[in-house]
Symmetry: C2
Subunit: 211 residues, 2 copies
Amino acid sequence: MTAPRWRSLRATHCETIEAMPKKVDHQERRTLIADALMRVAADQGLEAVSLRHVAAAAGVSAGMVQHYFRTKDEMMAFAMAVVRERGQARVTEALARLGENPAPRLLLRTMIAALLPLDDRTRDDGRVALAFLAYTAVRPASATGLRADTMQLTSFIASVLPSGDTAEGAGLLALMEGLGVYLLGGQYTAEQALGALDAQLDLLFGSSAAA
Amino acid sequence: MTAPRWRSLRATHCETIEAMPKKVDHQERRTLIADALMRVAADQGLEAVSLRHVAAAAGVSAGMVQHYFRTKDEMMAFAMAVVRERGQARVTEALARLGENPAPRLLLRTMIAALLPLDDRTRDDGRVALAFLAYTAVRPASATGLRADTMQLTSFIASVLPSGDTAEGAGLLALMEGLGVYLLGGQYTAEQALGALDAQLDLLFGSSAAA
DNA sequence: TCAGATGCAATGCAGTTGTATTGCAACGAG
DNA sequence: CTCGTTGCAATACAACTGCATTGCATCTGA
């Protein structure tokens, strides 16, 4: 296995590099490994993430993982960044699927539903995100990125709400996070979660019509 | 060290036991160890929980931990149960501090505030709970207790809401959970979280007065 | 062509993990 | 006073951890 299928897209943003006597795309390799890490974390938990497990899941040697991440923490941090980027990508993609300027309520519902772990595909991402949440609850230093994301989202949500209230925006975001947690824990079904979300939007938009 | 300071309260509820040629209270020892486990988990993360670490934190030998929990998973499960019981105790205590039949809104605010990790004392419990959440997201089998708790809480909350709507109750509970997560992650301050909670109660109770 | 850099595999190593086993002191029942 | 049970400590052990080191094939720029 491991047929030479690399050399695909070369340097996504290789800047200020003059002498490069190599061939492989570092960023690509790293995301490949990070993907494997997330697969391991998704179905065995973060504590099962080790250099060798990740290497096995990625189908590469343990030495290669070490080659691309000098330390395990570096690998974890990179994977965390990938999770964040994926979340953001899902949001922007979901928003792009709505036309030019959609109704605020539909916009919020679409965005939040895109971020909830409602199906098996997003469930794995959610599990990893939750694991990282617990991980960073102990290491507050490595959560600055998450913090920025959250603040950005709250202000955006608030700006779309009819009231424009920041507290209401923060509440809606927290409700989303809680729904995600309960979905992952199996406490809520997808229907229950969406029902709660719609009920909340009813409250915020003052209407009683369904989405 | 380890002066013989046991033999403290004997058998909390030793029933149907005829021959007991021993002296220590099993349950007490187990909760003592579970406390140490939670201390370790709170400030080093769940992955730092090992027999020896817990034993050291409890000030006992590793052999004793093994004596009271035949396997690590058994210890984890017990600690999880303790966390759940503490949460429930905090709720009932907070409710008891309110008089006979308090206003629904005040009742909900008090109950939810009691469950949020707002100060350093409850912060540790929250960290442990979050870690366990991530833990059980991978092992769904050991989360049946949590599921029951959640369902119980949702129905109770819904019964207190003016609308009596189950979806609104589920939403409020999810909002609480999300606030807890963001508090632990440092994304929200205590003021922001309480502000969001009050805003939500404003929505649910249709008033604009503060708590 | 030929250093030198790079990609990557293999191995070694000290430390930690969960668990099984052993040994011994203290106790209760007979 | 035994004797078996229990409480607990100590140790052994194989598996695993993250990391450092070594070795080699391949490519690059001169």
